[in-house]
């Protein structure tokens, strides 16, 4: 074989912004191409919003059902992407050696995690845009401080990402798939998304209120429905979950 010059060594990493940008774009494409992920992140929240707004199945208390439901469904959308979707996708990436192979590429691990977060945020923006349009069509009339909403969404994303990555990095991929879906279902019912927490007995309620999904849906509802100021209690709960979840994931995440 004569030398063609094609492979003359010229090694080197691309710039960090370029690598993170490319990785974010790829992760987002993978997510949006996956049918099961779309079911979880788009179809289920949309159906719940439309169905429960139109049909009086659950007693959502005084006022329009859509004003109660929209904050809950937004919280659910965040959970579906940052927790369930990210846990399942990352679990299988670990199982199929994707994380391992990327570990040998010039992309640093922290940059991979940054890209994953970027892809979660892009997906959330798309979800929230879609759900907001639908909610307005259903007669939603939100109020409140947009900054408080952004802060809740950001801390909620951090809390759910930590828990999702902890699960993906410690359990087998199949176990993550089953557990992430189960948790999604349980928190959908018991996290104040479509069923108000005051429908539960007091003892159960005081525990359920500490869940990240309850804090996020309750905080969003306080702001968007009642025009409350900064929901510090809920933000505090989310911050604790974020620190615990991300800390545990950083400590125990296994790449192979």
């Amino acid at each position: 074989m004569t030398a063609t010059g094609t492979f003359i060594p010229a090694p080197g990493a691309a710039s960090l912004p370029r690598m993170i940008g490319a990785q974010t774009a790829l992760e987002t494409r993978m997510l949006l191409r996956n049918g099961e992920q779309l079911l979880l992140t788009v179809v289920i929240p949309t159906l719940l919003l439309v169905l429960f707004s139109a049909v009086d199945i659950v007693d959502t208390g005084a006022g329009k059902a859509v004003d109660f439901l929209t904050p809950g469904v937004l919280a659910l959308a965040v959970m579906s992407t940052a927790f369930t979707g990210q846990a399942i996708a990352t679990g299988f990436e670990r199982r199929y050696g994707v994380l391992k192979r990327l570990g040998a590429s010039p992309l640093p691990r922290w940059a991979l995690m940054t890209a994953k977060t970027g892809s979660v945020l892009v997906t959330e923006v798309l979800q929230i845009a879609l759900l907001t349009v639908i909610a307005f069509a259903l007669g939603w009339s939100p109020s409140g401080n947009p900054l408080a909403v952004l802060l809740l969404l950001a801390l909620g994303t951090a809390a759910f990402s930590g828990l999702g990555l902890l699960m993906a990095g410690t359990l087998r991929a199949e176990a993550t798939l089953a557990a992430a879906n189960l948790v999604f279902l349980l928190l959908l019912v018991g996290g104040g998304v479509i069923v108000p927490l005051d429908r539960f007995p007091d003892t159960a309620r005081s525990v359920l209120e500490l869940l990240p999904i309850s804090a996020l849906s309750d905080g969003l509802r306080d702001v968007l429905r009642h025009g409350a100021g900064m929901p510090w209690g809920d933000l505090g709960i989310l911050a604790v979950w974020a620190v615990l979840g991300l800390g545990a994931a950083a400590r125990w995440f296994r790449w192979e």
């Binding site: 063609t4 003359i8 060594p9 080197g12 690598m19 490319a22 494409r29 191409r33 996956n34 040998a104």
Partner: protein, 308 residues
Amino acid sequence: MRMDPAVEMTGLVKRYGAKTAVDGLDLSVARGTVTAVLGPNGAGKTTTVETCEGYRRPDGGRVRVLGLDPVREAAALRPRIGVMLQSGGVYAGARAEEMLRHTAKLHADPVDPALLIERLGLESCGRTPYRRLSGGQQQRLALAMAVVGRPELVFLDEPTAGLDPQARRTTWELIRELRADGVTVVLTTHFMDEAEQLADDVAIIDKGRVIASGTPEELCRGGAENTLRFSGRPGLDLASLLKALPADSAAVELTPGSYRIEGKVDPQMLATVTSWCAQHGVMPDRLAVERRTLEDVFLELTGKELRS
């Protein structure tokens, strides 16, 4: 270019729980060469290579890759090496071209992905997601991903396992081209012919140790001498042939009419045998000089079949 070795490994030990996967392994890979790490399944090939790639932290010994510690100096090393894992490494839903283009984007001065797609016959993958590609297509994509960043050194873990003969040949050609362009290649294989075809140096490992190393020629030369075989009529008087040959030669009739002569096979020996045949009116049918293959070397060293 500095001429210190691309890989320098001395006394590598790696244990997984109670099991010792690598047990005092020494390996040196010269720059610009192709080195084959040869051994049966479970010999420690993958552990050895993955230690070089920084995936495994050695329990003992010293490893330097391009002069760097693969674990502590991983950030400096990784942009300079190319890695092909034994399997996987690609998003289940990604398309071949998409994944290769992405890998190229992580490097400063990559090879044009379109060129690699064409060279490795990956056009046929089209828009099929990775999980539905054939094993051979997945292997070739992993190879393309290992070389697209123009590394100085590539590690290929069983690059031709499961390939059809044509794809295997394509892979061999690419490895030869890498070498011609000055890339150092370390590959693992359990195919003898692959090591003989491609490698400048071969390290045969078994039970976590190097049991023989050298060029393929060196390995095949040493030990038992070369062999000459021929067929003729049964019951030839081999004693008279042995008188004509050097003292340390041996001759046996393996089965009636099938003969094997062992000794230093050179033109003189061949002439002696054929003229003896002529004197005895024997037509030496299927006359063949048999070189020891790496397979023979391995069998002698370990007493077991390599392809298991």
